[in-house]
């Protein structure tokens, strides 16, 4: 590593430690920010010599990254940005902090995938899904798919592990081959993780015709784009691998969506040579991820935290949550997106019959939504009031990003 990179890396680690010691955060962004100021190529320098996997998509990135790091851990030490700091500053900080490791598994914000592909020269990139998320500042879904596609064309050597169930992902992962330009189509391994949310993929990104669905299958009515046959798939409570062998998956994380994330993790790890049979037991060691799925006991209530940031992830959260009293908390601060319109893209009907409490900066937006949805609810002013309002036993908490962080802080920053 060049001297400038060594200095930058060392200063970066110190800054992160100071940030943590000062209680100002988990240090996963500030360290990288300072390091990149000293050496703009620091991320590339820190990546050199490591076999790297990138994990990107709208939903499930943090959990899939955690599961993948656990699976790749079969082979040796793995650096990873496990706090969800998923932009280049976070990657830089994570790699600097980890020191020398043969492997790295990095969660990447979907907007930064092209840049991080360039800087880290990964062995494999996993593409999970694309759906609407904070449209007041984020890119439209189709434009995001186009950016991914353009980035993959520039990296024909990277192996792609992609979701066969999401038409936007399939289109992004299969750029047209143009041998004259030296464009070779990327080698793609397809997984099927299921997709509950379909409202961002009714129109073909290739030709604009309607996409039809029947069961698991989907196809464009105007061009050859259709669901590729997956090599990895969720079946019952396990995962089918490309040889047809079935592996039972026992996770401590709830919901079918996490079985899909486990299948993805096994597929990515297999690209490094990890056999699924060796990795499955490690997946079961993951209990919670930066507070997501964490369980805390307080005053006789068992509180479980579920993060839901956009319509697709709310549908998944309702699937994961038990039939128990449920607190919903909504904010609309900068990290959440300032627009609450998406509440009307979510059908809250699955909550009927449960005791529902609402709170957060934008509880009134949620109140109007639930009223129209015919879901009775009770508005509470604080997390404590919510805990007192429910009987002893399970309390499910579903919250969007900053609302989730607020509640996590109430519970002493539970991980």
């Amino acid at each position: 590593m060049p001297m400038r990179a060594k200095v930058a890396s060392s200063v970066s680690r110190t800054a992160a430690a100071l940030s943590r010691a000062a209680g100002r955060g988990d240090g996963s962004v500030i360290g990288g920010w300072i390091g990149l100021k000293i050496d703009p190529d620091l991320l590339a320098h820190l990546s050199a010599g490591r076999a790297i996997a990138l994990v990107s998509g709208t939903n499930g990135k943090t959990t899939t990254t955690r599961l993948t790091a656990a699976a790749v851990g079969v082979l040796g030490r793995v650096a990873t940005n496990s706090f969800g700091a998923n932009m280049p500053t976070g990657h830089t900080s994570a790699l600097a902090k980890a020191g020398s490791t043969p492997y790295a598994v990095l969660e990447v914000d979907e907007h930064y995938l092209a840049q991080v592909l360039e800087a880290t020269d990964p062995h494999v990139v996993a593409l999970l899904n694309l759906s609407r998320d904070q449209l007041d500042r984020a890119k439209e879904v189709a434009m995001m798919a186009q950016l991914w596609r353009a980035a993959l064309v520039r990296h024909p050597d990277v192996r792609v592990v992609a979701n066969a169930d999401d038409p936007m992902v399939v289109w992004a992962a299969t750029p047209p081959a143009d041998p004259a330009q030296g464009h070779i189509p990327p080698k793609v391994t397809w997984f099927s993780a299921g997709q509950r949310w379909h409202d961002d993929s009714w129109v073909c990104p290739e030709c604009g015709a309607t996409i039809q669905r029947s069961g698991d299958q989907w196809w464009c009515t105007g061009c050859p784009l259709r669901r590729p046959a997956p090599q990895w798939a969720v079946e019952d409570d396990g995962v089918l691998d490309p040889t047809g062998a079935w592996h039972k998956i026992q996770l401590q994380l709830p919901g079918r969506v996490n079985l899909g994330n486990a299948a993805t993790a096994l597929a990515v790890a297999a690209e490094f040579g990890v056999r699924p049979v060796d990795a499955v037991s490690r997946l079961g060691t993951v209990t919670s991820v930066a507070g997501r799925y964490a369980q805390v006991d307080r005053d006789g209530r068992n509180i479980r935290l579920l993060l839901a940031k956009n319509p697709a992830s709310w549908l998944e959260a309702f699937d994961m949550a038990d039939e128990a009293p449920t607190l919903l908390s909504i904010n609309a601060r900068d990290p959440d997106g300032l627009d609450t319109s998406w509440l009307f893209d979510v059908d809250f009907a699955p909550l009927r019959g449960r005791q529902v409490l609402i709170t957060g900066d934008r509880a009134y937006d949620l109140a109007v939504r639930l009223d129209v949805n015919g879901v009775p609810f009770q508005h509470v002013r604080s997390f404590d009031e919510a805990v007192r309002a429910v009987p002893p036993g399970r309390l499910e908490v579903i919250a969007n990003y900053t609302a989730f962080q607020d509640i996590r802080a109430e519970l002493d920053r539970v991980n």
Binding site: R132, L135, D136, R137, E140, A142, M143, D199, W202, V203, G208, T210, L338, D339, T340, S341, W342, L343, F344, D345, Y364, D365, A367, V368, R369, D371, V372, N373
Partner: protein
């Protein structure tokens, strides 16, 4: 009303439903049902014929490509023009508002609109993103407008329409006026579920559709709290 039940058509949800647009159909249906009106909501996709006999037509927001495609298909279909000629109500939001006019810009090119409203839209110097508020045209008889806008267009009103509101926060058409209406056609930049924050506007559309001069009052406690909160937030941001 044209038939036994109130018929609401949501036009092209496959193209024009960027962020919560479904809310407007849900809210109209709910408010009609609470008054004992039977309601039918039809979602008409862009590969289907548009029925010309519904009472209320809703067009939502969308990105440039789907907006241009939606306008072309609506012009070719002709159903919305026939419905308007028969006195149906049309409520357009954002991209769906622009395409009711004579022309709009998408993907850097000018497209023909449906020419149902005397408005023309072009590109503004910057994207308008944030809270939108305005004092509504007194002839509409409803209180202040509150919403969220997210668009790159600017809309110029001809003599054949009136603005819905005078802007007090945000951009709307051009920073001075917001939305446009004539007869039973109304468009706004208040995107997504505009009617969630403006129940009186929802009831105005229902009154236009049914011919009723008044509708029984509903419990709008939560919507009123939301409106007050948003109004206070806009005022605080300005101070």
């Amino acid at each position: 009303m044209s038939t036994e039940s109130l018929r609401i058509v949501w036009i092209y949800p496959d193209l024009l439903s960027t962020y919560g647009d479904r809310g407007n159909a849900l809210i109209l249906a709910r408010r009609a049902q609470l008054r004992g009106m039977p309601v039918e909501v039809l979602e008409v996709r862009s590969d289907q014929r548009l029925p010309a006999t519904a009472d209320i037509y809703l067009i939502g927001g969308g990105e440039d490509g789907p907006q241009a495609l939606g306008a072309q298909r609506l012009i070719a279909d002709g159903g919305l023009h026939r419905a308007v000629a028969q006195g149906s109500v049309v409520f357009g939001v954002c991209a769906g508002y622009q395409l009711l006019g004579t022309s709009f810009f998408a993907k850097g090119a000018k497209y023909a609109g449906l020419e149902l409203l005397d408005i023309a839209s072009d590109r503004g110097p910057s994207r308008a993103v944030g809270e939108l508020a305005g004092e509504v045209d007194a002839r509409l008889g409803i209180p202040y407008l509150t919403g969220f806008e997210n668009h790159g267009g600017r809309t110029h009103l001809g003599p054949g329409v009136s603005p819905v509101a005078r802007v007090t926060a945000g951009i709307g058409n051009d920073g001075a006026t917001e939305g446009a209406w004539r007869g039973k056609l109304l468009g706004t930049y208040s995107h997504g579920p505009a009617l969630a924050r403006n129940p009186a506007l929802a009831d105005l559309l229902l009154r236009w559709a049914t011919g009723a001069h008044q509708l029984p009052a509903l419990d709008d406690t939560w919507a009123e709290r939301l409106r007050s909160e948003r109004r206070a937030a806009v005022a605080a941001a300005r101070a």
